[in-house]
């Protein structure tokens, strides 16, 4: 799936071949087929709007609805007016602002750590190619076969008492940032992209006197913006979604992200305000999705692979 992202193989078929599915142009001209398909498609659209957009619209509505109305008549449209204060209360009194900032910090740090590891690792494996590269690649690849659950407890104990460091990383953002970098998927994804870059450019740069650092920073990275974008979006989204790991290593509520705080405050917060908090937590991923829709949808196949 990854090679579909690489520029030279982006289009698998020649542009002349029209995209077509099981239904041919001739089929489309038959009235029976056309009516059935059109009705099916309209129905499908209705189902998608109800299932995909419906819960989000409800969340948006609940975010500004008084708690009493949510409990007694959830589907009525503002029977007793709108309560904008929910949003303000969630942001200030429930301190969503603070948890929101924590989430942003965690996402940025995880992004940085994944970028550093994936680009430098991909560079070594694809461009510098030392003799022991195969061994390293094999060891990185091997981690993809280990289900995340195996790492949970030993990784937690490693964070409690990391070797060489001498102090526990519990309750520090580093405990989330650093392990995030160990993504074999990112390394191999970037490596595959680097493999498809034209070697002639590297040779030309070397002839012009560029060392390995210059080659990395001024040639390889600028040529790799598409894949860096994909890795970035995945990194931020994955960090935003992460729940179990920050729950384990960030015990101090003051530094916990939204995903950990939201379940914790659920019982003690006014329902309307709580739903406003949920809505706020959805905003950034939603905005990212709308901004980078193309990246999301064209690489969601990769996302599917990551999820497993």
């Amino acid at each position: 799936m990854a090679e579909r992202l690489a520029p030279p193989t982006r289009r698998r078929r020649p542009a002349a071949a029209p995209d077509r599915g099981a239904v041919s142009a001739a089929d489309w001209r038959r009235p029976g087929v056309r009516i059935t398909l059109s009705v099916t498609h309209v129905l499908l659209l209705v189902v998608l709007v109800v299932a995909g957009l419906g819960p989000m619209l409800l969340l948006a509505k609940f975010a500004v609805t008084p708690t009493q109305d949510i409990l007694s008549s959830p589907m009525a449209v503002f029977p007793n007016g709108v309560r904008w204060e929910n949003l303000g209360q969630a942001w200030n009194e429930v301190q969503v602002s603070r948890y929101f900032l924590n989430t942003v910090w965690l996402a940025l740090g995880s992004w940085a750590s994944q970028m550093v590891v994936a680009t430098s690792g991909g560079y070594v494996l694809s461009v510098l190619r030392p003799r022991y590269g195969k061994v390293v690649e094999g060891m990185v690849l091997a981690t993809m076969f280990i289900p995340a659950v195996v790492l949970l407890v030993p990784l937690y104990l490693t964070i409690l008492d990391p070797p060489l460091l001498g102090r526990s990383l519990i309750n520090s953002f580093w405990s989330v940032w650093l392990p995030a970098g160990a993504s074999a998927f990112n390394v191999l994804l970037v490596r595959r992209f680097f493999d498809n870059l034209p070697r002639e450019v590297f040779e030309a740069a070397r002839v012009d006197g560029a060392g390995p650092y210059r080659l990395f920073w001024s040639v390889v990275l600028p040529m790799s913006k598409p894949i860096l974008g994909v890795v970035s979006v995945f990194a931020v989204i994955a960090s935003w979604k992460d729940f179990l790991w920050p729950l384990l290593v960030l015990k101090d509520p003051a530094i916990q992200p939204l995903s950990v705080r939201l379940p914790a405050i659920a019982g003690s917060t006014d329902l309307g305000v709580f739903l406003a908090a949920l809505a706020i937590a959805t905003l950034i991923p939603l905005a990212l999705f709308l901004l980078f829709q193309r990246t999301f949808l064209s690489s969601a196949g990769l996302g599917g692979a990551v999820k497993g």
Binding site: R12, R13, A17, P18, R20, G21, A22, S24, A26, H41, L44, L45, A51, G52, L53, P55, L59, P74, M75, S120, G121, V136, M139, V140, T143, I146, P147, V150, L151, L152, V153, P154, L155, L157, T158, L160, P162, P163, L178, G181, A182, V187, L197, P212, L244, S259, P263, A266, L271, T282, P285, F289, F296, L297, S298, A300, G301, G304, A305, G308
Partner: protein
Amino acid sequence: MTTVSTRPAPPAARAAVVRRRARRTPATWWRGGGAHTLVFLLPVLVIFGLFSWWPIVRSLVMSFQKTNLVTPAQWVGLANFEYVLHDPLLAVAVKNTLWFALLALVIGYPVPLLAAVLMSEVRRLKGLYSALAYLPVVVPPVVAVLLWKVFYDASPTGVFNTVLGWVGLGPFPWLQDQSTAMPSLVLAATWAGAGGTVIIYLAALLSVPPELYDAAEVDGAGIWRKVWHVTLPQLRGVLFITLILQVIGTAQVFLEPYLFTGGGPANSTVTVLLLIYRYAFENSLGGNYGAATALSLMLAVVLALFSALYFRLTRSWSA
């Protein structure tokens, strides 16, 4: 690109390479930029070493040890495995996990395929269809669970009970009842995950060679026959992969049971991962890390068989 460097060299050049290899010394390594290579490799070595390779090795060791973080770890042989296998909750957790996986297959597996096949024939606003289908995937899972928990309110004025009440159904107890709790979790998980699979299928549908459809038409195939005899066989590879990914994912389900029900009612939603979590992190007397890693390893061995299968399939499928 890579074929250029791997093309077989003429015999003379190969001999030269062999001779050069024979004369490799630390000095040639240094002059060849070997140290710079190591600098670039450092992040991978440190991060993977500390947070991936070492914990993997450690989990193997720990499953045969008793660790309480205060006194030094003791070797206990297979005691951890025995403890886990004798825990009456294990059978319940395995049964629940299998039940979750089965329900997810029945409810969640056909939905994205059906949606994708239909969507691939859409002529206008195709982007809108895929964006709508993908929207739930964008919602952070924790938010999705907490939101659905509100929807699942068991009172007659809960969101779902209100809507179903319009057509004379319900009210249903949803998460409150042993028989409906698990299907409710699966329904929410399916909603949250289906969009990603739809997009995978849509991409796979694009790579079905159009000539196959043309050929089927020459043979007089109708739309259904084309879908059945061309589209589905062409998706075979990707269908296998999503199936295995789904099995691996559902075997490790944690978020939904943890946040929706906490394993209740009456342990009807305790899954294997929830049990691992309880062993390690929910014991007030200090974690039973040995039992937790032992159970993790047992789960991993089962999943490794699936993963190996998955990798072989992706190799043959993407080639």
